[in-house]
């Protein structure tokens, strides 16, 4: 009874116990509620420690990690699923699954909310944050070192004149503009994102894309992407007919995530930009 009447005495004790437990015992049942934290988790911890990932990672996540993701349990972000998995750590994004996050906070399940980061410095910060939370600091540093090495190689490969490019997948609503990871990847690889520049008009319909005279059109592929009206526009005949325009495909899900592997996409793009046919003059 005295203990209950004086909870303040108890608090430091509890805190000590928790901290000690955290230091000794890294989380073993981790649930991720966000496509991008899925990717980080898959790279940082052994699969046995992952209780579930979002269902998106199986089909629209980083292509190299999809097979692994498909072998693990998946969730659709509902509070019930998360509670049933009895996690000792939940990774979530800052803007989605808000009801679930509110509930988890009330129940007292440890949760780490991850920023959606759009540049390399942000990726370093978030990777360190998550690596510390899951007790894999060394692995996190290794991923960052690998990323920095890839960025250094990308810098040496970068073409001298930036290539005019745009990310267009058939819908005017989802053209990645400025302050996106897409933009960061393009800039790093030696391209200039037309949609990040102040240009006349608004909304990128196909005609406006063409009139901006891109040399490269990056067409996003989503899972089953041809099963959609936007694929009509994305596969429009005019894209093959326009001289001097190259079309490359990229995974929208992978390029949207601020994780170290984004540097691999920048490197890949830098190589592709070097291989583009010279513009006819």
């Amino acid at each position: 009874m005295p203990l209950f009447r004086h909870p303040r005495f108890l608090l430091p004790l509890l805190a000590c116990a928790c901290a000690a437990a955290a230091a000794a015992e890294p989380p073993r049942r981790i649930v991720s509620l966000n496509l991008c934290s899925d990717q980080l988790l898959l790279e940082l911890v052994a699969p046995e420690r992952i209780a579930s990932l979002t269902w998106l990672s199986r089909t629209d996540g980083e292509p190299a990690l999809r097979v692994l993701a498909a072998r693990l349990p998946s969730n659709r972000g509902s509070a019930e699923e998360v509670l049933a998995a009895r996690p000792d750590l939940v990774l979530a994004g800052r803007y989605t699954t808000s009801t679930t996050r509110a509930l988890l906070r009330r129940v007292g399940i440890p949760m780490l909310e991850i920023d959606a980061v759009q540049d390399w410095e942000g990726i370093r910060r978030v990777t360190r944050e998550v690596a510390a939370a899951v007790g894999e600091v060394a692995r996190g540093e290794a991923l960052i070192a690998q990323m920095d090495a890839q960025l250094a190689t990308t810098a040496t490969l970068r073409v001298s004149t930036p290539v005019r490019a745009i990310g267009w997948s058939g819908a005017a609503e989802d053209v990645p503009g400025r302050d996106t990871l897409f933009d960061t990847i393009l800039t790093t690889a030696g391209a200039v994102n037309i949609a990040a520049q102040p240009v006349g008009g608004s909304g990128f319909d196909l005609e406006r894309v063409l009139r901006q005279r891109p040399r490269l059109l990056l067409r996003g592929t989503a899972h089953d992407g041809d099963r959609a009206v936007r694929s009509w526009a994305a596969n429009h005949h005019v894209l093959q007919a326009l001289p001097g325009l190259s079309v490359l495909e990229y995974s929208e899900g992978a390029w949207a995530c601020g994780v170290p592997r984004a540097a691999a996409h920048a490197l890949e793009l830098a190589r592709a930009l070097r291989a583009l046919p010279e513009p006819a003059q």
């Binding site: 629209d60 008009g201 005609e207 063409l210 089953d224 992407g225 099963r227 009509w232 005949h237 001289p243």
Partner: protein
């Protein structure tokens, strides 16, 4: 007879002028053929030939199909409120097309999209006519609303179940309709169905005239009513089903077009058909040009514009009917 030819000629002339003007504006600015030289000429040629001309032809074809289908449906049901969007035809077509596209059938076999659009439109029309026939003007509209609601729910369900994360975003296209970024491929997909449907619908004129005197009078004049009903249902499903399968549902064109021309040509259904088709094409083209000229961040869906103009007109028709019947 003279006045109707004159009206048709005037509408056709207006249509040609608007069609030519419609080639000039785009959302990325005006494109004038005479100030393009050198490097830009090839780009301009492609924009005209691959984007603006197929879009124009699609607008004309779909508008004519909707206007004509509205006129014929109003003739068959003897109901001034009938039109494809309100009778479950368009939502049935959208449901069929969505089913074809998001199950992957359309990617393997492109013709599946208009074929299922036609089948869905057929289903929607038959359901509405079966449920609402014989119960007066408003019971048909109520049946149409119920059938449309059901088929719209089906469309939303298919889109929500689709594995593609962007499928849910495309719901606005199917509910509101759009001609943006369509090309020859979509035009060729829809055109055979729409032309076949328009052909069937034009053959119903004489029987519709007879029907306007009443069912018994029409039967005594030798009109096979069951056959007429079949013709209208199949013709509408072909025309509207084919059109909706590539543009999404576009409401109210079929309601507005016949009413706009009726003042000039009178109430005989047959005389309304040609002018209604022309007026439908004119209305849809004008709406599409407006979506390109309005300086909004995202292109407005066609159905938003036709709904903004069409719904008040629909309410006015209902109000006028209430005022007339005690």
């Amino acid at each position: 007879m003279k006045s109707i030819t004159g009206l048709n000629a005037k509408l056709a002339l207006l249509l040609v002028v608007l069609a030519l003007l419609s080639l000039l504006p785009g959302r990325a600015g005006w494109l004038l053929p005479w100030n393009l030289q050198g490097n830009d000429a090839e780009l301009a040629r492609l924009i005209f030939w691959e984007l603006r001309i197929p879009r124009l032809l699609l607008a004309l074809l779909v508008g004519a199909a909707l206007g004509l289908a509205g006129a014929v449906l109003q003739g068959l049901t003897r109901n001034p409120l009938a039109e494809p969007g309100l009778l479950g035809v368009s939502s049935g077509a959208a449901f069929g097309a969505v089913l074809a596209i998001y199950t992957g059938l359309g990617a393997a076999f492109a013709l599946a999209i208009p074929l299922l659009g036609f089948t869905g439109a057929l289903l929607g029309t038959m359901l509405t006519l079966a449920l609402g026939a014989g119960g007066g003007v408003l019971s048909l509209i109520l049946a149409g609303a119920a059938v449309s609601g059901l088929l719209l729910a089906g469309t939303a369900l298919v889109l929500n179940l689709a594995p593609n994360p962007y499928a849910a975003y495309e719901i606005s296209h199917w509910m509101m309709g759009s001609l943006a970024d369509r090309g020859w491929a979509q035009l060729f997909l829809a055109a055979p169905f729409v032309f076949a449907g328009i052909g069937v619908l034009f053959t119903t004129g004489r029987a519709l005239d007879a029907l306007s005197l009443g069912e018994q009078q029409a039967a005594s004049l030798g009109v096979d009513l069951a056959r007429l009903r079949r013709q209208v249902v199949v013709g509408t499903a072909l025309a509207v089903g084919g059109a909706t399968a590539v543009t999404g549902t576009i409401g109210f064109i079929g309601l507005l077009a016949p009413h706009l021309v009726r003042a000039a040509v009178g109430h005989e259904p047959r005389r309304v058909l040609w002018p209604a088709a022309l007026a439908g094409a004119l209305l849809l083209l004008a709406a599409d040009v407006a979506t390109r000229l309005l300086p909004l961040a995202q292109e407005l869906k066609l159905g938003v514009l036709t709904g903004l103009i069409g719904s008040p007109f629909f309410l006015w028709l209902v109000w006028r009917m209430k005022a007339r019947s005690p």
